[in-house]
């Protein structure tokens, strides 16, 4: 049986970056991945803008709601409500192969080709130096990692009032996309009341996005079609599968899809990696010199527990607490649909009372148009007929504020692997509870966010709590440690107690800052891949 030189597991954001780093260094890399791809007629989205489609395309129902309305969700508000029919494969087979047992935590995971990156919101915030250190990462390496990743994927950003919270010392970025009227209005109000808002500890700026506004290689500049939740036409938004597609053209890269890695065993001169073949449910054993797991904090936690732990072992878990607030801008009630709109967040509002860029909370602001009226109508406590009339009038004024808070470890946030009748023989049990003090602090902060938004002519209607896990930011299951304790990582990303097993996702983060972690886990994935190459 051949021995693979470097085996990277996972095709999401961290896996794609780690694999590219290794391939660029000349390593022979095999990527092992579940890699479920989209299929069927519901995934064909025309290369047209949202408003034209709505007015003319008779087939729009297929990709907007699903040919059998499968995209029309019902039940309690939860994660993934914005996953549209062309991206439904994000969730395919997740309950079957990576099931969760929890009453308190409802995560989103993916077995798709490109992982959760398929539907990622593109935010590329840098962590502050203080937050990087608190997470257990190296500030110089992260600075380099951010730049390497930014140069590869293309980022649009603005160095403005929130620059120290968003782009740090990043260079070579493209201009931010044009803002729609809702966001232009907020920014103009901020400029007029900046002193008071800053004194209250709030800072507003453009959100850096992995979205190009100028052509880059084979990818086209963003065309403002407002179909961001449905397609990647032009590839202006970076997705991990785009990198993996390019890597497949390299002679030193091999992609093996249809495999769910279940465990590993380190032997004298190689590691055995066990994978479930998703087609026939058989188990295949691969052999490799270096193993790089990039299956997300939950995924890597699962694999490590299965390989080295027992059902009595618990791993810690971090997840950004998250809530959202639909807001109204009376100025824009009853306005016509706007042709040039973005589905992505355009502005970020940071709350940093101490001014030290540590432990800040952050709100992302979004307009609402292309996710359709029905998704928002169902949350209106009126009959559907009148709710439609009301929401048609209100939509042009709607801004959604999504608020994230930092998270620290505690005994009440954990995961554990229990035996179960599943294809892998186990189920991941997750317990998650915020302590009372944190819960009160976050709620108080959210009230302050709403107060600041009112200063900017944008009025929150109500706070919605979609439940723990809804932020889709998970970390800290195998935290960095200098003490070589079990289920922890060396600063290089190597799993303590092993010689050649590396974890390239967010499992190692000891602390989870509020700004979305994706850009940081990609920078870290690059650094871990470099360490794996040097066998540190």
């Amino acid at each position: 049986m051949k021995i693979i030189e470097y085996l990277v597991v996972g095709s999401g954001c961290s896996g794609a970056v780690a694999a590219e780093t290794l391939v660029n260094k000349g390593a022979r890399v095999t990527m092992l991945d579940t890699g479920i791809e989209k299929s069927g007629g519901d995934t064909k989205v025309p290369d047209k803008d949202f408003l034209s489609i709505r007015k003319t395309d008779d087939q729009q129902y297929k990709y907007l709601i699903g040919s059998k309305a499968a995209g029309v969700g019902w039940g309690d508000v939860g994660k993934g409500e914005q996953i549209t029919p062309p991206r439904k494969h994000i969730l395919q087979d997740v309950e079957k192969y990576i099931p969760i047992d929890s009453n308190t935590f409802s995560p989103l995971e993916s077995l798709g080709y490109g992982g959760l990156g398929i539907g990622w919101g593109l935010q590329c915030w840098e962590y502050s130096q203080a937050d990087i250190k608190a997470a257990g990462l190296d500030t110089k390496k992260m600075s380099r990692g951010y730049q390497v990743v930014a140069d590869r994927i293309g980022i649009s950003a603005t160095d403005d009032d929130a620059g120290r919270y968003t782009i740090g010392d990043l260079k070579n970025y493209q201009p931010s996309p044009a803002m729609d009227r809702n966001h232009q209005y907020i920014l103009s109000k901020y400029a007029a009341k900046k002193t008071a808002i800053n004194q209250a500890g709030f800072y507003l700026g453009r959100t850096p996005l992995s979205l190009i506004t100028k052509d880059k290689d084979r990818r086209k500049a963003y065309a403002y079609q407002d179909m961001d939740f449905y397609s990647d036409n032009g590839q202006s938004a970076w997705r991990p599968w785009m990198t993996v597609n390019q890597l497949k053209k390299q002679p030193n890269f091999e992609y093996l899809g249809g495999y769910l890695v279940t465990g590993f065993k380190e032997l004298d001169d190689h590691t055995e990696v066990y994978a479930l073949n998703l087609k026939d449910q058989s188990t295949t054993t691969f052999r490799c010199r270096r193993l790089v797991l990039a299956t997300s904090a939950l995924g890597s936690g699962r694999i490590v527990l299965r390989s080295l732990g027992s059902s009595s072992d618990r791993l810690p878990l971090l997840c950004n607490p998250y809530s959202y607030v639909p807001c109204v801008q009376p100025r824009f009630l009853g306005q016509a649909a706007e042709p040039k709109k973005l589905g992505f967040t355009q502005l970020s509002l940071f709350m940093d009372k101490q001014g030290d860029n540590q432990g800040a909370s952050v709100a992302s602001l979004y307009s609402y148009q292309s996710l359709m009226l029905f998704r928002i109508i169902r949350h209106v406590p009126l009959d559907f007929k009148d709710a439609r009339v009301l929401m048609q009038y209100l939509t042009s004024s709607l801004v959604i504020m999504g608020i994230h808070h930092p998270d620290t470890a505690s005994k009440q946030k954990y995961l554990q692997l229990n035996t179960a009748q599943t294809p892998t023989g186990d189920i991941l049990k997750i317990g998650y509870k915020l302590n009372k003090r944190d819960a009160e602090t976050w709620q108080a902060r959210e009230k302050e966010f709403m107060a600041v938004m009112r200063k900017m002519g944008t009025y929150g209607l109500k706070r919605v709590d979609p439940g723990m896990g809804a932020s889709i930011h998970y970390a800290g299951t195998l935290p960095y440690s200098t003490t070589k304790k079990r289920f922890s990582l060396h600063k290089s990303g190597r799993l303590h107690g092993t010689r050649s097993i590396y974890i390239a996702d967010s499992s190692g983060f000891q602390y989870l800052p509020a700004p979305g972690l994706t850009f940081s886990l990609m920078a870290n994935a690059h650094n871990v891949a470099e360490s794996a190459f040097l066998n540190e």
Partner: protein
């Protein structure tokens, strides 16, 4: 249902799409919801009052879900785009919206009694 939501009878194509969607989703219908559905088929004029009560009285009702599915199907059709996309309104339209809100509140109060009577 379509006529109730947007003021005109949907095409056969859209009705077929709705039927297919309901068959595909195969939700469990509770005894109370079955009573409501039977009542609505016999008394289609009452759909507005029943629908008004459900957000508070039975928010996850199968009846409400079915109306919701029809709403989404209508929205995802070029024939009804103008009923869903934002349009430019006169500032005085705000008063019409206030009137719609008032009517909805009255329907909700009446409906909550009506629904209780139907499903008892």
């Amino acid at each position: 249902m379509g006529a109730y939501l947007v003021g005109s009878q949907p095409s056969k194509k859209l009705i077929d799409r709705y039927v297919e969607a309901i068959k595909n989703s195969s939700s469990q219908v509770s005894h109370k919801d079955q009573k409501l559905l039977t009542y609505l088929v016999r008394n289609p004029w009452s759909i507005g009052i029943i629908d008004a009560a459900l957000p508070f009285y039975r928010p996850h009702s199968e009846v409400r879900r079915r109306i919701y599915v029809m709403l989404a199907i209508l929205e995802a059709s070029p024939s009804y785009t103008e009923k869903f996309l934002p349009v430019q309104r006169n500032p005085l339209y705000f008063f019409y919206i206030a009137w719609v809100g008032f009517k909805a509140a009255v329907k909700m109060l009446v409906g909550s009694v009506w629904v209780r009577l139907v499903i008892r």
